[in-house]
Subunit: 227 residues, 2 copies
Amino acid sequence: MNGIDLAVSTVIFALRPDADDRLVLSIPLVRRTREPFEGHWALPGGGADAAESLDATAARTLEETTGLTPAYLEQLYCFGEPDRSPSGRVVSIVYWALVRGDEAEQATIDENVAWFPADELPRLAFDHNLIVDYALWRLRNKLEYSRIAHAFLGETFTLTALRQVHEIVLQRPLDPANFRRQIEASRAVVPTGEHVTGGRHRPPRLYRYDATVDLVDRGPLTPAGIR
Amino acid sequence: MNGIDLAVSTVIFALRPDADDRLVLSIPLVRRTREPFEGHWALPGGGADAAESLDATAARTLEETTGLTPAYLEQLYCFGEPDRSPSGRVVSIVYWALVRGDEAEQATIDENVAWFPADELPRLAFDHNLIVDYALWRLRNKLEYSRIAHAFLGETFTLTALRQVHEIVLQRPLDPANFRRQIEASRAVVPTGEHVTGGRHRPPRLYRYDATVDLVDRGPLTPAGIR
DNA sequence: CCAAAAGTGTTAGTTGTACACCCATGT
DNA sequence: ACATGGGTGTACAACTAACACTTTTGG
């Protein structure tokens, strides 16, 4: 024992429709009900449990506070500046998670839990603004060299849906033709043979993840939250 | 307080000459003098200090146990499986560091501190073999998309020396001509105008880091150990 | 002069990007 | 028929990798 509290928090990302039905990269936050920072919004989390792995604590506290189950979960960074909490020394092990669109709809929403657009956050408790900035930076980087975008989508999806995930997260338009070829070349995805009907245009093919390809190369570490 | 001990450890890398005077990627380890794992080699480190940042604790414990000062220091990962220490729950925040060749020669060496080739380690205490494997993976990845190789070298250096750093760490030969052009194109380095004389061949140019270019892009996080 | 490493030039193959164009559907 | 997004083809630029070649030193 050395007078240091150990906490686990998670930055959760989902793509949710806004008032105009456009998808927005969003983060659920919880309102603090006690000091310090009472009334401020903060990342969901909780104290570390002596009997539980850190991954498990992240998944559990995430579920307890928001009702969500992540499709992807990875440790982000450990924040431990001595002055980051006015109430004493707290070291936070922070995770980041991706949840699917349909899953995000089932999140607990009450006066103490709410979704915010990732790039329009209020002043958060502690150093949580910095933490979210870092998580956003990692998400955007990792999207470009891994297949994690799939974790935002359901079992099957069109390439247009996958491209829109990239476009929304990276905040820039992508050429549909070139995107298609990149994804096909990466072998991350296999056509189901089915099509989506009902649109006002040519029915797009449905694809499925190639489960034999890992979402991310994490080297010697066994991925925590890959399905 | 929750019955969890918080420790900080560091994987330190340096390039040191072996018996045949060939440079080898090496790691200093300390021998444990008490249970658990008494007599086993382990990563240098120590308990977290309530008044000190994690970066500072890593730098301090690194200096206390090995006598080394790192040219580069970055947080690696936080390891916290419940069963990783037989003596109770320990969460380790692990850093990785690079030290320069001349600095490495000044390391404390006694019966309880010794250098090992990074790819020929004995069975280490706790999960430290996994940790070193992960640090190696990160080092090799990061070498390819950043300028951290410079942290192994002194103030000035030849491009051949820089290329040898890459070759040793990545364990494969690199084309000298293409390597030169890549480095020059990256603008990471500026010629000093001086040359190394005394070799049996054409005297190579000496280069210096371009201090206006960051070694690594760490996004919103301020780098810990960049000079 | 010769060996060896420093440094430059050239070319072929690969990858990225822009954009023209055809395809299949609902209205 | 036509608007709309799905999907294919193509051409050019940029980058990579392989390797021939020239330069400069010590012996």
